[in-house]
């Protein structure tokens, strides 16, 4: 901007910033942004809540990095040190673990709300795809972070999880060696997971999140089919302040959960100890775990686990491609088939997850 531009930008700090950054463009956008008001508006808060919980993860994750040591000899002891010696270490670690679980839960609810409200309709297909990829990245965060304390549960969960990846026909062996950093789960796997957890996945998340948010701004919030054009609410400050109330509640809930139910550390991983009774993965992988448990050794001459893994792969692909498969969305109609399919998937996941926690034999 020329010297004349300075006079246009106005006096004071705002003028100084405006001349150098053009910040008014962003502020104008924020002030123009509106949120549709209808009986499903409440679901719009889940995106912001997910973002808030992710911010908590980044902040607590950075704090944990200051004391965590990523070798199989020291990882467990360093977490023990954080939990017992570092002032408020127990709080930071528990909030990180609880927030991770809440984040995945809110993310699933956000995803299913978008699915049932058909917010993936044209032209928001890529917003859905970036969101779905973000969900996979968050699950990868959960899986890689689970190993970092190097405890028994984490050791066997990683053993099973990487073996599942290793069972994929064709490229399975490559994936297994890539994930484990060798043939077996060792200290090398821990170092690798640590690098993935604190460097690779945050970089991927940053790129995907920026794209996702950019697309949300580009297209605005989707009005569900059947909800006619009507009232709106300004994003700033009305919707944002309501968002803030939700974030304060979430922060309070996290603090309460961390204080009342500090996250357990378990026992240090021993590669030569048998898998303990009652072993199970994090709840959000429970439905897959239970499916693999129920599948028999062989189905029609094919190993049961292969069938399970193939089904998960196909399911994941259909999920990502939902906006392109749902043809009735073109006509801005509610696609009953997709709604029923989504409900069946939720019911299946819920039943399988409950089965994981039910006491059973032996």
């Amino acid at each position: 901007m020329s010297e004349g531009g300075r006079a246009d930008a106005g006096p004071g700090l705002r003028g100084w910033l405006e001349e150098r950054t053009g910040v008014s463009l962003i502020l104008d956008l924020a002030h123009k942004k509106t949120v549709p008001l209808h009986r499903h508006t409440i679901w719009y808060y889940l995106g912001g809540m997910t973002l808030f919980l992710f911010t908590i993860q980044v902040a607590t994750g950075i704090l944990l990095l200051l004391y965590y040591r990523s070798s199989s000899d020291e990882a467990f002891e360093s977490i023990q040190f954080i939990m017992t010696k570092v002032p408020f270490g127990w709080l930071i670690r528990s909030i990180h673990s609880w927030s991770a679980n809440l984040l995945v839960f809110v993310l699933f609810v956000h995803m299913f709300s978008v699915f049932f409200l058909k917010a993936y309709r044209r032209p928001r297909e890529l917003t859905w795809v970036t969101g779905a990829l973000l969900l996979f990245v968050m699950l990868a965060f959960g899986f890689s972070g689970y190993l970092l304390p190097w405890n028994t549960l984490a050791f066997f969960a990683t053993q099973v999880g990487t073996e599942v990846a290793g069972s994929v026909p064709g490229m399975g062996r490559f994936m297994l060696r890539f994930l484990r950093g060798g043939e077996h789960v060792t200290g090398g796997t821990l170092t690798r997971f640590y690098g993935i957890h604190v460097a690779v996945l945050p970089a991927l998340t940053t790129a995907l999140l920026l794209l996702h948010l950019l697309l949300v701004q580009r297209h605005g919030m989707s009005r569900p089919p059947g909800q006619n054009e009507g009232r709106t609410m300004p994003f700033v400050p009305n919707f944002l302040l309501r968002d803030c109330i939700g974030w304060c509640v979430a922060l309070g809930l996290l603090a309460a959960l961390a204080a009342l139910f500090p996250w357990e550390l378990g026992t240090k991983a021993d590669p030569f100890a048998p898998a303990p009774a009652g072993i199970r993965p994090e709840w959000y992988f429970g439905w897959m775990f239970q499916t693999l448990k129920l599948l028999p050794g062989h189905v029609l001459g094919i190993e049961g686990e292969l069938i399970g893994i193939f089904a998960f792969g196909v399911g994941g692909l259909l999920f990502v491609l939902a906006p392109f498969l749902d043809r009735s969305q073109e006509k801005r109609r509610v696609s009953l088939g997709f709604t029923v399919a989504g409900a069946i998937v939720i019911a299946y996941m819920a039943v399988m997850t409950v089965l994981v926690y039910l006491p059973g034999k032996p």
């Binding site: 490559f174 060798g182 898998a275």
Partner: protein
């Protein structure tokens, strides 16, 4: 070929080659090298008298876990302790007299055969010898 087309082709392939020369070492770096493990064919699992009848012990067989079981009749059995389903380490259930994988509830009998649950194959069986007070396990 015109000079413009040649330059397009030349620059395009150069950029492609440059990308490949950057990406190939990264790709190779990500996959760990094949480090041949020392072949273990034999290991001392325990000393005679360490296990009472109907007890077991998981022990290192090279870099992998193996399980030594003393049956209720006093005979020894040894197997790889890696479940054939998804690689968890199995344990012996004295109450059921079967080998159990806690991860996905798989069962094997005392011959190592998969008898129920998701395991698709039997456990690898090892040979057990008792020599000079030591219980020696070796690959069959």
């Amino acid at each position: 070929m015109s000079r413009r087309k040649f330059l397009d082709w030349f620059l395009g392939t150069s950029v492609g080659a440059m990308c490949a020369s950057v990406l190939y070492p990264i790709f190779r770096y990500l996959v760990p090298p094949d480090v041949p493990e020392a072949q273990t064919n034999r290991a001392v699992a325990a000393r005679e008298g360490d296990l009472k009848p109907n007890e077991s012990k998981v022990f290192p067989f090279g870099s992998q876990p193996a399980i030594l079981i003393r049956g209720a009749d006093g005979t020894y059995h040894a197997f790889s302790a890696t479940c054939t389903h998804l690689n968890c380490t199995v344990q012996y259930r004295g109450d059921l007299r079967q080998i159990w994988c806690a991860c996905h509830n798989g069962f094997y009998d005392l011959a190592g055969a998969n008898v129920s649950g998701p395991p698709p194959r039997p456990l690898e069986q090892f040979t057990v010898h008792v020599t000079e007070g030591e219980i020696v396990v070796s690959k069959s």
